[in-house]
């Protein structure tokens, strides 16, 4: 075996040799060696090969700009004094930077309390959800039992049915938990934890699906070896499968965190006084007009700096996480192989 360095060296030499040969062939006249079709093919390939990277760069640059534009705009707006919003001479770079918007928005959103609540609920719910979805996915991937097809159809239905349909009955379920009028889960974290604990949290169907596909892709020999050594199925799952599924766990956990963080539909239905980041951001406009404008209704134009500051505050944690763990978002999905539907 050649080392990587040597392989690189070989590659270099090979390329040089091919180049030299091409040069020689050109000097002697290509017709001697190649058919006209081959010559045409090579020429076209060379032309495309030199023009395409430029096009590719232009396309990607333009589209990256489309994606990054709102973020750049957000940052540019959030850190400028409000007066400079209406200054026509300021487009991207404000004349002076200020942290006032951020500070005021921080206060209006009660940000320390909000972010702690959100983090606590998201992390607990996501961990529960990942564990239960993995167990369920494994059950669907490796065991044969009656009604498996029917049960899996229910999982697919969980993906397709919009949560809005079942929100009201679900509210009743939480309000009168197991038919009792005294236990109400509304406005407590349990409204999030309970479904997550039973593999029915946000987008649980999709996660079960991902886990099923992932476990099906792992070789069966792993488990057979464990069974032969006398492990029961649960122990096999814990000791053999879980360590092998690390990437899938991480990916699902990350997506789960992101979706819980961003969710405002479910949380706005079940929480009145529990503040999560996305709820606070959703209501930021109304809250601002109470706190900063003495109950007048300012136009969104006036509010924009604070709104954008709120955006900056609420996506910064996600962005930081994304920058550090970006690899796992992308690789995890690629490897977990939703490919074989």
């Amino acid at each position: 075996m050649a080392t990587k360095k040597e392989e690189k060296q070989f590659e270099k030499e090979r390329k040089a040799a091919i180049k030299a040969r091409h040069k020689r062939m050109k000097e002697e006249g290509l017709e001697k060696y190649l058919t006209p079709e081959q010559i045409r093919y090579n020429r076209n390939k060379a032309i495309v090969g030199s023009v395409w990277p430029i096009f590719r760069f232009l396309i990607l640059f333009g589209l990256c700009f489309v994606i990054l534009y709102p973020l750049i705009y957000m940052i540019s707006t959030a850190f400028r004094p409000n007066e400079q919003m209406n200054d026509p001479s300021v487009i991207w770079l404000p004349k002076s930077f200020t942290l006032d918007n951020i500070k005021q928005t921080w206060k209006v959103m009660k940000f320390e309390e909000t972010i702690l609540t959100t983090l606590r609920m998201n992390v607990i719910a996501s961990i529960l959800q990942v564990i239960t979805c993995a167990i369920t996915g494994y059950g669907f991937a490796r065991f044969q039992f009656k009604f498996k097809g029917l049960l899996f159809a229910i999982v697919v239905m969980m993906i397709i049915v919009p949560p809005q349909i079942i929100t009201i009955p679900l509210y009743m379920q939480f309000r009168f938990f197991f038919g009792s009028t005294s236990i109400s889960l509304i406005d407590t974290g349990w409204a999030m934890y309970m479904p997550a604990m039973f593999a029915n949290g946000l987008r649980a169907g999709l996660f079960i699906f991902i886990f099923r596909q992932f476990f099906r892709g792992l070789p069966k020999e792993l488990e057979d070896a464990a069974y032969l050594d006398g492990c029961g199925p649960f122990k096999t799952f814990l000791v053999i499968m879980v360590p092998n599924a690390r990437t899938a766990f991480l990916t699902v956990f990350l997506f789960s965190i992101v979706w819980y963080w961003n969710d405002f539909y479910v949380s706005s239905s079940f929480f009145n006084n529990t503040h999560t980041v996305s709820l606070m951001l959703k209501n930021l406009g109304a809250q601002l007009s109470v706190d900063l404008f003495n109950n007048q209704t300012p136009s969104a134009r006036q509010l924009i700096v604070w709104l954008e500051a709120g955006c900056v505050l609420s996506i910064t944690p996600l962005l930081v996480m994304y920058i550090f763990l970006q690899r796992y978002f992308i690789e995890g999905i690629e490897r977990s192989g939703i490919t074989g539907m």
């Binding site: 040969r21 093919y41 390939k45 495309v48 590719r56 396309i59 990607l60 589209l63 990256c64 994606i67 534009y69 709102p70 239960t132 979805c133 490796r142 065991f143 044969q144 229910i154 969980m158 993906i159 397709i160 919009p162 949560p163 809005q164 349909i165 079942i166 009201i168 009955p169 009168f176 479904p195 604990m197 039973f198 593999a199 029915n200 070789p219 069966k220 199925p233 649960f234 992101v258 961003n262 969710d263 405002f264 951001l281 406009g285 109304a286 136009s299 134009r301 709104l307 954008e308 709120g310 955006c311 609420s314 996506i315 994304y322 992308i330 690629e334 192989g337 939703i338 490919t339 539907m341």
Partner: protein, 392 residues
């Protein structure tokens, strides 16, 4: 050594290398095939074993009475050794069955948690909302109070409500327009992102950014359709960024005056569409990228040997290989756009929820859901005919 001889030697070397590579590829493929065949065989064996076990169980059930009679008969002292051997055989068989049964029970064990949760948090509410849709609901102190309405809610939605049908048609046609656009665009981007170039990691990271941001309320502020305001959000600003002063001037310079307004309009819609397109296709790009990486290298090599152009390669190799993924993405895109709380039908449905007309809301949602289901079934049935599944 003459030039020609050198050439020959070089070519020989190259040929050897190519051969080696080909051999490697072949062995890899063969290994893969063997592994898959093994898997399949194992599965088949398992299934067969299960069938056997089931058959054995049935047989056992059937043979319970005769065996008992046999045992009764066997209590005659003469046949004692035989009966004991029967018993021991039966015991061994029983143990095996219980192991298989155990495994099946473990299967139920693994999904039990989910099943309980689904019945309580998904199926029951689903059925309740179906019941609501046939009733008029009022909120009482200890739950919903229902009074029977029959199909009245549904009739009201389709016949009397001026907004619902219109919103439904709009949403359906909007989805029908948007879905192919998103699919084509995300295949295109995925193919680009799958090539090797400098800064690829950065480009990928940027293109998946919408996945993180676009599901939250931040996107509402960015695109400016917050319910509280008629603000011009970024999407609009983005298109005004390109508002065609430049195009205008260019056309005026060329001496063309009349069409510029029309052109401006087109450019505006196009740019804001690009914004929505890019921001809505993060997951699809991710899925296609993973599919593209699943294309075996041998296929690419073969295509190159045959002298396929990029265009031919795309249509004859790429598209067939990722076609299962196209179906997945199609379903995902359609569902995503139907379920989006921002679309017109959802807005109407949700507004009814905040008006406490839950029965009516449930009827609208169920009608909508039924239409989605039928549409999806038709789409999947049609597209599935064109999907190429690799069978080895």
């Amino acid at each position: 050594m003459s030039e020609f001889e050198k050439d020959l030697l070089e070519q020989e070397d190259e040929a050897k290398e190519a051969l080696e590579e080909a051999e490697d590829a072949v062995t890899e493929q063969a290994e893969d095939a063997v592994r898959e065949a093994e898997d399949e065989a194992a599965e088949a064996a398992e299934e067969a074993a299960e069938e056997l076990v089931e058959a054995a169980e049935e047989a056992e059930e059937l043979s319970v009475i005769p065996e008992e009679t046999v045992q009764e008969l066997a209590e005659i002292p003469d046949d004692e050794p035989e009966s004991s051997s029967v018993r021991s055989g039966k015991a061994a068989k029983g143990a095996r069955i219980s192991y298989e049964r155990k495994k099946r029970l473990y299967g139920y064990g693994f999904i039990a948690l989910w099943f309980v949760g689904t019945v309580y948090f998904f199926l029951y509410p689903l059925i309740v909302s179906l019941v609501y849709s046939f009733h008029k609901t009022t909120v009482g102190t200890s739950g919903m109070e229902l009074s029977d309405r029959g199909f009245d809610n549904y009739i009201r939605a389709f016949r009397r409500d001026p907004n619902y049908t219109k919103a439904l048609v709009d949403t359906l046609s909007n989805t029908a327009l948007k879905t192919p656009l998103i699919l084509v665009f995300s295949i295109f981007i995925a193919v680009i992102l799958n090539q090797k170039f400098r800064g690829r990691t950065f480009a990928r990271a940027v293109f998946f950014l919408p996945v993180i941001i676009a599901t939250g309320p931040v996107i509402d502020i960015i695109t400016g359709n917050m319910s509280t305001s008629g603000t011009s959000g970024t999407a609009e600003q983005f298109s005004t960024l390109f508002e065609a002063n430049l195009v205008d001037e260019l056309l005026n310079f060329l001496g063309i005056y009349n069409i510029s307004e029309r052109l401006t309009e087109i450019i505006n819609t196009l740019t804001s569409d690009i914004f929505n397109l890019v921001w809505n296709s993060g997951i699809q790009i991710l899925l296609f990228l993973s599919a593209l990486q699943g294309i075996p290298f041998s296929a690419k090599e073969a295509a190159q040997m045959e002298g396929a152009t990029g265009w031919e390669y795309f249509w004859k190799i790429t598209i067939p290989y990722i076609s299962p993924q196209i179906l997945t993405c199609l379903v995902y895109t359609v569902v995503d756009s139907f379920v989006d709380p921002g679309n017109q039908v959802m807005e109407i449905v949700l507004s009814k929820a905040s008006n406490w007309e839950h029965g009516y809301m449930a009827a609208m949602a169920w009608a909508y859901f039924a239409i989605i289901g039928i549409a999806l079934a038709i789409i999947v049935a049609i597209v599935n005919k064109f999907v190429y599944y690799e069978v080895e």
